[in-house]
């Protein structure tokens, strides 16, 4: 492996150099003609020219013709970031008839013209990095992108509306879908709602048909009460181990007749019903809500006396004529192979107790918005009657916006949906109780289709809208008509004075935030998160549903607060991206993997534990290390660790990088 480029294979190195104006983006701050003229003087450079738009068809054709005309065997393009157009120029190089990896890009826009303010030094820097590339490209070798088959199956994590929509879209294209949901049923947060804004469609009417479609769909394997235990592999070939938590019910036998619930030893509920936000109780054997999919009961190990304390008459067992109850069930696992994964794990609402001055958890009549969703819905604990915990119907209700949001002490971001759902709740409460409704807001954010009209409708219904963030909800009454009420202290900024408004009921419009285990999920799937903790998309505009990990897509509020219309649209997009991957049938793997040169390898095993993907094994017969190209992800950590320099990483070989450094620093 001599350093002399000429002897690298027989043919002499002939380089074509193209520097792009990019309109004025580059030419505005870098003298591109000067760079082209300078590079022409460098050894092995046969063609050196500048062009207005290298990434245009005309620009690419320039490369193709010059390769043919001047028998070029190396191409260097100085333009924008390789992360943007490396693929474009490699394709053009291939069309010219030479191996695409003989093309190398130099970033003189994002790292050059856009970030410098002085033409001379920017041009000097452009020349240096161009010179580096010229030095480097001599050592490039022909490489082939490895094609890997894509498993025609998708795993969707999370069974909320995002997961449901993505699963259905993919399943309808004939592909296999594994929908993994942590709770006992799919439906997510949307299942709690009575109506949805702005059209006041009943949430159940638009959600339950989709849920039953998922339940019945031949292509969807639905696993509820399940989590992802472990994931290995890479795009097109993910191996996922799914853990099924014991339901103590034999799923295939249970028909959802619910007799076991009636015969449970507990005559009425003995533990908080999470679905009803704790407003009512449920038994240890339960079904979250009547339209649950799958319509299978589950036994809560903490609430069931037999499971928790080991002694109970177990009156439930004989009541089930399908004898589907099985207390001996243990955790089971399933190992599946999928080509793509869609993460749709959703969000958590802000814990209102973190704003003590609003008195949630202290004053009985302070509710969170989710609790009120359960109060207004007819299938809720109060059959839709909005009543306080002491049975009274409220005559005045205060809805507090931005609870936990737009606040440096809790969540800095606006949660985007609270203004709209507060309007919806105001309408529903008014409809059920005809009470005086007050909404306290900082900015009324109603940007969607039909949103502003919905706000207008609420105004015309005679609800009070007070612009001012509520400072405190207190029961320290100061006048007769404040006794027995919750007093809201606020400055009505539009009217220009402070107000004390006594109400019977306070509703806190809590914002959206990442789930507690977002960090664990993030680390398991190797995706990064933004500063707030939501999962980070590859690019907010150019790739909003994909992540930096190929084959892994995002949908719904796990990527950031959003309402149902945006969530469904994003779920469709994620499904489309996954299907594109599977329809292509194969995926091209970047060739930057590493190889061991057996002659140099001393078998010292330093590299073995370097590899996080255990792609390096040891051939005991020859006493040398061996790298499995399928598992190698091309990070190059082992290359730098090898004491005898026996490992090389394609496209990032030591000699290429040494040459690049040497040329960058070489004087003109």
């Amino acid at each position: 492996m001599s350093l002399n480029p000429e002897s690298n294979g027989k043919e002499e190195v002939r380089i074509g150099f193209f520097v792009c104006h990019c309109g004025t983006n580059i030419a505005g701050m870098i003298d591109v003609e000067e760079v082209a003229k300078y590079v022409a003087t460098l050894p092995n450079v046969v063609v050196s020219k500048d062009y207005k738009y290298m990434c245009s068809d005309a620009g690419q054709d320039l490369i193709v013709q010059d390769i043919k005309e001047h028998r070029l065997n190396r191409i260097v393009v100085a333009a924008c970031s390789p992360l943007l157009h490396e693929r474009t120029f490699r394709t053009a190089t291939m069309r010219g008839g030479i191996n695409p990896f003989f093309c190398h890009m130099v970033n003189i826009r994002e790292h050059g013209s856009w970030v410098h303010s002085e033409k001379a030094s920017a041009t000097e820097k452009a020349k240096a990095v161009a010179r580096g590339a010229i030095g480097r490209v001599k050592f490039h070798k022909p490489l082939e992108k490895r094609k890997e088959p894509v498993e025609p199956a998708v795993m969707v994590l999370g069974g909320g509306i995002a997961g449901i929509q993505a699963a259905l879209t993919v399943a309808n294209s004939g592909k296999r879908v594994y929908l993994v949901e942590r709770d006992a049923t799919i439906g997510g947060h949307m299942a709690y709602f009575d109506k949805t804004f702005p059209t006041l469609d009943c949430a159940a009417c638009i959600l339950t048909p989709k849920m039953s479609e998922v339940g019945a769909h031949p292509n969807i394997t639905l696993w509820t009460y399940s989590d992802v235990e472990q994931i290995t592999g890479y795009v097109g070939n993910y191996k996922v181990r799914v853990k099924h938590r014991p339901r103590y019910i034999i799923e295939k036998d249970c028909v959802g007749c619910l007799d076991c619930i009636d015969h449970c030893v507990f005559k009425n509920g003995n533990t908080d019903d999470e679905f009803n936000q704790g407003l009512s109780k449920r038994k240890p054997v339960y079904i979250p809500f009547p339209q649950a999919v799958p319509k299978i009961v589950a036994i809560d190990p903490n609430a069931c006396d037999f499971l928790a304390k080991g002694k109970c008459d177990q009156t439930c067992i004989p009541s089930c004529d399908k004898n589907a109850i099985d207390f001996t069930q243990k955790e089971t696992f399933d190992d599946i192979k999928v080509g793509a994964i869609i993460v749709a794990t959703g969000f958590k609402t802000f814990d209102a107790k973190r704003k003590p001055l609003y008195g949630y958890g202290k004053h009985q009549n302070v509710y969170t918005a989710l609790e009120v969703e359960r109060l207004v819905t007819s299938s809720g604990p109060t059959e839709g009657h909005v009543v306080l915990r002491d049975g009274r119907t409220p005559k005045s209700v205060g809805i507090v916006h931005c609870v936990g949001s737009r606040d440096h002490q809790t969540n800095r971001w606006c949660s985007r949906v609270c203004c709209m759902y507060s309007l919806k709740l105001a309408h529903l409460i008014k409809e059920h109780t005809n009470a005086e409704i007050y909404n306290f807001y900082i900015d009324m954010r109603c940007p969607g289709k039909g949103y502003e009209e919905f706000y207008e409708r609420l105004l015309e219904e005679g609800n009070h809208f007070i612009r001012g963030r509520v400072a405190e909800v207190t029961d320290a009454a100061q006048t007769k008509d404040e006794e027995g009420k919750l007093v809201i202290r606020v400055e009505d900024t539009l009217a220009g004075f402070a107000r004390r408004i006594p109400v019977d009921m306070v509703v806190l419009a809590t914002g959206l935030e990442p789930r507690e285990d977002a960090n664990d999920v993030r680390r398991m799937f190797n995706i990064s998160c933004s500063t707030e903790g939501f999962f980070l998309e590859r690019h907010p505009k150019l790739a909003p549903v994909s992540t930096t990990t190929d084959g892994l897509f995002l949908a719904g509020a796990c990527q950031g607060p959003k309402d149902i219309p945006d969530t469904v649209a994003q779920a469709g997009a994620a499904a489309a991206e996954a299907m594109a991957l599977m329809d292509a049938g194969f995926v091209e793997m970047e060739p930057m993997t590493s190889e061991v040169d057996e002659l140099r390898c001393s078998g010292c095993k330093t590299c073995l534990n370097m590899c996080p993907y255990s792609a390096i094994g040891r051939d005991d017969a020859k006493g040398v290390a061996v790298i499995n190209p399928v598992l190698c992800k091309g990070c190059g950590v082992c290359v730098a660790a090898c004491p005898s320099g026996a490992i090389t990483q394609n496209l990032f070989e030591d000699q290429e990088i040494f040459a690049e450094i040497k040329e960058i620093l070489a004087h003109a």
Binding site: G468, R469, V470, A471
Partner: protein
């Protein structure tokens, strides 16, 4: 009937130097982050007695409407209880801004006529700079002599109670060596 007057402000009425001066005072750096949400006015125990609410004071200050701010009684009614600063969702040092405005008003003598608090502050400052201690009764006497002597008469009921319970001493309090305090204060003063 309120007199009909035209109320419009021109950019020339703004004094950006005033706004910048306040921004440089300790704790007042973040006033530009304010979204006028009014949590400060809502939580303030005395906002309802102020002619300009704390929220509007922040807006007027950062825009540089110096006269409106320094003529208002807001900064004097503010009792520095820090409730607004603690609750502000944008973590703006609102109490520090009120304190900075007090300092500016006292320094420039631009406070509403008859407002006792700046006079109390000055008297307090002078007494402590001299003796190193505060003698409550002497301070109250000095304040009322400067503001309205007749009201002193109203204090006799309170004075009697304090005398009866031994909580009123007419003796002037002082440090043993106040001159050491004065030397320190002199050395700490900004070298002009």
């Amino acid at each position: 009937m309120n007199a009909i007057q035209r109320e419009i402000r021109y950019e020339s009425d703004r004094d950006p130097a005033f706004a910048d001066a306040i921004r440089k005072m300790p704790g007042c750096e973040a006033i530009d982050r304010c979204i006028q949400c009014a949590t400060c006015s809502g939580i303030c125990p005395v906002a309802s007695y102020m002619d300009i609410t704390p929220r509007r004071i922040i807006e007027l200050t950062r825009s540089g409407f110096k006269d409106d701010v320094l003529k208002s009684n807001t900064i004097w009614i503010c009792a520095s209880c820090y409730a607004c600063q603690v609750e502000c969702p944008k973590e703006i040092g609102i109490s520090d801004v009120m304190m900075a405005l007090k300092t500016k008003a006292i320094a420039e003598g631009t406070y509403p006529k008859g407002m006792p608090i700046p006079i109390l502050a000055q008297e307090f400052h002078d007494m402590v700079s001299q003796t190193g201690r505060v003698s409550e009764s002497k301070l109250v006497q000095k304040l009322y002599l400067k503001t309205n002597p007749f009201k002193m008469f109203g204090l006799r009921r309170l004075g009697m109670k304090l005398m009866k319970t031994g909580r009123m001493s007419l003796k002037g309090e002082s440090m043993k060596r106040p001159e050491s305090l004065q030397r320190m204060l002199q050395a700490a003063r900004i070298k002009k």
